[in-house]
């Protein structure tokens, strides 16, 4: 209330530090992470394996508390898990006792917003209509991942937190999913935080790309690409522009210089 910024600051991370402590050996996973995210931003996080991306996402989701620093949502400290910060886990954790349809319907049902229509709609969009009645252990790896995505999308949270959601998908399906996500973002102006290893994917989707350093994870660069605004399902020619290639080179260089 003291500062009078007009643009809604959804998320504010200040000097976040996180240490995992297991039997004497402490692992410093995050150090001095500062990050502001505004309403409607599409943030993509890139960084070497094990640098603390998932950890950062878990802090934002409220799964773990930072050891030090403050993580605020809408101006107040993040306080536990909330459905309005919907998470797609790195390893899909679908409920094996529910069918795919029931898994996807779970959030709505819990919030007393039963709506099979929406469930069907998203199942169709992610291409699992035929496997509606299957159990998760009857799905392939990519199908599980898609079901986990649908489960969160159906729930329509304000902030979407996604941890490498498309990593097990083939090129075509992946592109379709990217388009789906971009459309949803455009239509609903959600805030999305999206971890990926694919630089192209980050550039094709995000309005803010964050590059993290090797462990202990720090933010080494914030970029603000705009390619996503120029892409439609039919036309993604921006990826062949010189600017895109430059961004790409810069990020790759940043990541590769981390070793």
């Amino acid at each position: 209330m003291v500062n009078l910024e007009v643009k809604a600051k959804v998320l504010e991370l200040k000097d976040i530090q996180l240490t995992y402590g297991t039997k004497g050996r402490d692992v410093l996973a995050l150090q001095n992470v500062n990050l502001d995210i505004e309403e409607g931003e599409f943030v993509s996080i890139l960084g070497p394996s094990g640098c603390g991306k998932s950890t950062l996402l878990k802090i934002i989701a409220g799964f773990i508390e930072p050891t030090d620093g403050s993580a605020q949502i809408d101006g107040s400290e993040i306080n536990g898990i909330d459905w309005n910060r919907g998470v797609v886990f790195q390893q899909p954790a679908l409920y094996p006792w529910l069918t795919v349809e029931q898994n996807v319907h779970f959030g709505l049902k819990m919030r007393k917003k039963e709506d099979k229509e929406t469930v069907r709609y998203f199942l169709d969009k992610i291409g699992l209509s035929q496997f509606m009645k299957s159990k998760p252990y009857e799905l392939s790896g990519g199908m599980k991942q898609r079901a986990a995505i649908a489960r969160v999308l159906v729930n329509n949270p304000r902030v979407l937190l996604m941890d490498e959601p498309f990593s097990a998908l083939d090129a075509l399906t992946r592109e379709q999913m990217q388009n789906l996500l971009r459309d949803i973002w455009r239509e609903t102006k959600k805030t999305i935080i999206f971890i990926t290893h694919d630089v192209d994917e980050a550039l094709l989707l995000a309005t803010k790309v964050i590059v993290m350093s090797r462990r202990p994870g720090r933010i080494v660069k914030e970029l603000l690409p705009t390619f996503t605004n120029h892409i439609t399902a039919e036309d993604n020619s921006v990826r062949f522009t010189k600017e895109f290639q430059e961004y790409r080179e810069e990020i790759l260089h940043l990541i590769n210089s981390q070793s």
């Binding site: 409920y95 779970f106 959030g107 819990m110 252990y137």
Partner: protein, 275 residues
């Protein structure tokens, strides 16, 4: 063939083969029991052991027929079975429901656990025979004290198993549920409960064992009917044929109950080992 056999249990195979494998196992089971019967027959027929110590299969069969046709001490075998089952299942059912609920709750919430776990830990250790006297003084000699005893015997294993179940639920399952908007209670009913089912079924089975094991103790005092009473009564009159018959009937009933539980488990927890 060697390597293939190793993984039989865990890997989907063609239907035909599975069926055949099952038959071999049935055969083994049948052989096992045949062998036991035969050993029994030989031991008693050749009088290695006195008939008082171990009655011959023939005698047992005979008293079986007798008890089936004329009953034992005024009540037919079915009445004995029915009476025992009524007591057992009443106590067991109550224990299962309460044990599962409190066990799950205690696994889930530290405060609830702080209340119930030490109490259960404490009372579970008290041998039923030791506190049965107290139960009789409190609840009389009727069916009530018997049912309470059976209940208490079944409750503790059910409670422990359910609590372990919750503690072994994957963290991701719970986090996921909250994250999708489930509240405390919903997470409990829709996630914790089903995810704990494999443990709960183990609990249901051991708890049946515990309760069944107390049946004789329960029917020992002031009994007039029931399988447990029949066995105890027979032992007082040295009717070892009736004792053996009673034990066999109890064994068969227990196998049936256990099979029902396992059948239910197969139906209700088909994802076993797959999550």
């Amino acid at each position: 063939m060697e390597k293939k056999k190793l993984v039989n249990d865990k890997i989907p195979r063609k239907k035909k083969k599975r069926h055949k494998v099952w038959n071999i196992e049935t055969l083994i089971t049948i052989s096992t029991f045949t062998f036991i019967l035969l050993a029994w027959f030989v031991l008693t027929e050749l009088e290695f052991v006195s008939s008082l110590i171990m009655p011959s299969p023939a005698t047992v069969l005979q008293s079986f027929q007798e008890v089936i046709t004329t009953g034992y001490k005024g009540n037919s075998l079915w009445v004995h079975i029915l009476d025992s089952m009524t007591r057992l299942l009443t106590g067991y059912f109550l224990a299962a429901v309460l044990g599962i609920l409190l066990g799950l709750a205690s696994g889930y919430n530290r405060k609830i656990r702080a209340v119930f776990d030490p109490i259960v830990e404490f009372y579970q250790s008290l041998p039923p025979l030791a506190y049965y006297t107290v139960l009789i003084i409190w609840f009389g000699i009727g069916d009530l004290s018997k049912v309470v005893l059976l209940f208490l015997a079944a409750f503790a294993p059910m409670f422990i198993a359910s609590m372990s179940g919750v503690k072994n639920v994957k963290t991701e399952y719970i986090q996921g549920a909250y994250n999708l908007g489930a509240n405390k209670w919903q997470t409990f009913f829709y996630i914790i409960f089903p995810a704990s089912l494999p443990y709960i079924f183990t609990g249901l089975r051991t708890s049946m064992v515990a309760s069944y094991g107390t049946l004789v103790a329960a029917e020992m005092v002031a009994g007039v009917s029931g399988l447990g009473w029949m066995v105890i009564d027979a032992s007082r009159f040295m009717r070892s044929d009736i004792i053996f018959m009673g034990l066999i009937v109890m064994g068969i009933i227990s196998i049936i109950l256990d099979r029902l539980l396992r059948f239910a488990e197969g139906k209700i927890v088909p994802w076993k080992g797959k999550d």
